[in-house]
Subunit: 338 residues, 4 copies
């Protein structure tokens, strides 16, 4: 049984608490949130203790691992403190909003990087994971083109944008990790940003984007993003190679198809958002983390993966802002724990 | 070049005239219809002669083959006369509304049956024909269950019903032929009739039906019919065997899929009716007929197939009326010309 | 919190135990199975007590409700005993293999029928339930034709057949309940049985069947069954009315579509069997039961629904054996608890 | 009746000749090809005259309009000569391989531009045209993102590449026209080229590309191209706006879906190539041309459209070669004939 603390009792912390409750070999012991009521409500719902003092998390004898779901600016100090206290860490993405800060983190946990996993949950989605495995098995030959369409249902309030790091670091970063998951090292980035909704016009951020990534292998990934989508959370992907293609289509709540005088075979809208669409991914991500801890192996994606996705998000931000293509130096990150 | 006359300048005669115009080795020379204007209009559109006297068709030196698209009660006498005059015949279904009349026809053309083809056009539809060929090739193992859903878009006016022979002889007969095409000899028939639209209540006929056919092989075919379908002409079929299944889905006018706030992936309605849905089937049916004439082989489906489908339609009518299952004697029809 | 005992520690008992573990307002306290090891294993996995003596279930002060997942011949005596002991009951289908036995049960629990729910779980499947709700809301107009295709992935061993009651009481009964769920009172039944796999030839049972049901409303339901299906658990349904249709398509494990040199858009096989396909239905069924107990209302489907489905299964068995249509008298069952 | 000459008796000339044969108000009178046998074979098949002397086309009294399907380097001189001789022209794309040459053409036919139509046939494809019309009608709100996936089945021989103008002018140009058709004026172009097949490595050309186009409206189009596709001719498009999306899915030869032990719902491969996929588009393109001639209106797409697509292809070529984004000046082309 792996004993957990959850830092952050907001939306994503609640997802992790619920996922822990369903895992047969995991147990939630402690919930931290600076807002006392929030911590207590979540803790109570799962028979755990609550604290407003994050230091209690690091000090707790009955906590083996920490899931960090706090605001991004707190991630690095919490990772470092938890690892310093001997805890394993599963930290939500992004690790930080700038690469220098991730590098600080890497230096601070040097030798213990393998105790930290970054929450790029989509790698664990059964649909994406199946495509990844079938591509890896050679079913379509060497991957040549990857096309990702990734649209959120509703844009966040403009007030949220200031601390978000912008669309590429906040939203596209998931797709950038997916691109790396499939294509490996990326050497060129081009991006175009769009301001579609009226309130994005003066925001300094984008609510639409198209990012093109060239891999060292010569393969190209294209990512089409929008902050809004009337039909729901639009999450598609197509891997194309010389022998064929493998595509992920959207999920709907039920398997109903309706036909009327004007249409045929209409499914319902896509699942609403990430909590619904990636519910299984969160559970499988946790299972991977627990299993790695039990086995003493390094979970993945790693801090280095978190850093690499952020480097791509920075490059895309630069490209969308300046119109320039960004060439990336060859990657020489430290390898994960063997 | 095979030279044709078309008997009947109505809807189906016009289809055949247009199909002839597109066939590279067929030529329309003569159109007969008792309504002078109708014959002339159709003939003029295709550079052919018109006549109100059907005897001219049989007498015409420049006519090798006759397509019969007249009202059903005239079919047999026209088949017999045309064959007697040395013409080959492609006759629309049904051959007649009672089996005794078909038997008269068979006796009258004895020795020349192989000069007559019956227009069960669906056998030539590329989708159904592909499934038939793949089943025959063993792709799903021995056929065990065949499910046909066949619905017309709009019911004919009740006034039409009196001379139609009823839903089983008029509409289901196509599906009964399809069942024979896939399953061979049928030994048991059960049918249920429905009166769905208000004006069918006192009509003596049905506008909905479910027919179950047991084949000598043990396979079972189920046919679900309706005289109306809001979404268009609903023409589906599924062949099921121990190794898998092969299904025909509906055709739509374009390959557009629309997604909105309430639905995803909606196609347009089904193609409207048989002229659209089976346009290719009519052309391939004609090509089979022309090719057989050129080669001196017997086209198929034959008069015997026309008779067999009518026997099934009679059985279904009896079953739906009485509630009784109908057992059919083993088939011993004369085989087609070798 | 509703406290439960589960009777029967086999496959279906394990499903219910796992479902109970995930329900926030239900608790498993006791597991009974005549095989001591089986009861203990299941109880231990969920922190409950085990017993080989079923009387302990009825006597237990800390048990409010009993889920019966024992062999069918034991259902009635266990329902009666549990209700007599003041427990509410959720009993797996079928209630019994003959109607007389269900009637004994109804007499024995008279006045307490509303404390018994029958486990026709498919009514709670989100896909089927959505279609039912949309039909009830009038989206397609009055229901005219219901087509159910229901195929198990692999036939049970022939040795199982003797005590199964035959395909109609064992397998089709779910579809017969679905037909009643959509169409209400059924007045005519026709069925055809098939012996498809070689070992079914001398079995006295069928492994394929087509059942046609006529409702008092004039609507017709068609049920196509097979005990085997290469592609998995084939569970489809189409409701058709004058304004359109609503169809349930099969579920697959992931949303992957593959395209190769010979095919396009291929999904994976269907979910394997009922434990996978109806996992959500079991959870929603339990939730309905728990919510009804908490509210003091009568859960549904009722014992009367269990009886009605068995009457249809008997009629289908008779029809398939004799070739006769079966007419059913108007239903006059006692209504559920108000 | 509009009387036609076809210049070029190769593959595309044959398509046009066959399309003319099926049009009720068009007639093929003359076929020109420098290879005598080729011209004669095609002419004979359609009852037309043949000539190896292109001047005969311009001089022919019984020719109202000319379809140009010759090699690209000949297009401009043939357009100019035909227009000079009073003929209307339908010219295959691209008009030329460099913009200066198109400008020469525009100058030479000044005042008669409305007599020339450029063969961007995809605008007439019923699927694409339906999406265009529904977008124009406001069904999805203002168009925000257009995603085009366009892959040929098999790469042309490397020997062909030298005179092709490169992938963007030869293949992508169709998609660039489609982007303009949907988005109007384009102001920015970015492109990435790929060399996927081994024989493209030293070719100086690409066999894969991703092109991103920013419209003056702020909308973005993404075009993913490959010269090979195992599944056939991959021709998809998705228009996305705030109210939903409209997508074109691929066409297959039949409506068969197969299910096996490992897959479900598999369609056949996509239609093989443009002759199959766009057969209807060629017919509707011709009909538009004929109808415009009869009405004395200007057919569309125009020479200006041909020029604009070439400008985009040049920009994409430059971007893919240098890595730079290309900004385009505001468009100030002469408008079509009123």
């Amino acid at each position: 049984m792996v004993r957990f603390a959850v830092i952050g009792a907001g939306r994503i912390g609640s997802v992790h608490a619920a996922t822990l409750a369903r895992h047969p070999r995991a147990e939630l012991r402690l919930v931290h949130d600076p807002v006392a009521g929030a911590a207590e409500r979540l803790a109570a719902a799962h028979g755990a203790r609550a604290t407003v003092d994050v230091a209690e998390v690091y000090a707790a004898d009955d906590v083996d691992a920490v899931i960090i779901g706090s605001p991004t600016p707190l991630h690095v100090e919490q990772i470092v403190a938890a690892v310093g206290a001997g805890k394993a860490v599963l930290c939500e993405k992004p690790v930080a909003l700038d690469v220098a800060r991730v590098d600080e983190c890497l230096r601070a946990v040097a030798g213990q990087e393998h105790r930290v996993m970054v929450g790029f949950n989509r790698r664990f989605d059964p649909t994406f994971a199946e495509i990844h495995a079938r591509v890896a098995a050679g079913e379509i030959g060497p991957l040549e083109q990857l096309t990702i369409i990734s649209r959120d249902p509703v844009a966040p309030p403009v007030g949220y944008l200031a601390q978000s790091g912008g669309i590429f670091r906040d939203m596209t970063i998931h797709d950038l990790d997916t691109a790396r998951f499939f294509l490996g090292e990326i050497v060129e980035v081009r991006a175009v940003g769009q301001q579609l909704a009226p309130d994005y016009a003066g925001s300094g951020d984008f609510d639409g984007a198209v990012t093109t990534l060239v891999a060292a292998s010569g393969a190209v990934a294209t990512v089409v993003n929008s902050r809004h989508c009337a039909t729901g959370y639009d999450q598609r992907l197509e891997a194309f190679g010389p022998l064929g293609s493998l595509a992920a289509v959207n999920h709907t709540a039920t398997a109903v198809r309706s036909s009327t005088a004007t249409t045929s075979g209409a499914a319902g809208p896509y699942l609403d958002f990430f909590l619904q669409r990636y519910a299984e991914a969160y559970a499988l991500e946790l299972d991977h983390f627990v299993t790695a801890l039990e086995a003493g192996t390094a979970p993945s994606p790693t801090l280095a993966d978190g850093r690499a996705a952020l480097v791509l998000a920075d490059a895309a931000t630069h490209s969308a802002t300046t119109g320039e293509r960004v060439l990336l130096p060859p990657v020489t990150v430290a390898r994960s724990h063997p």
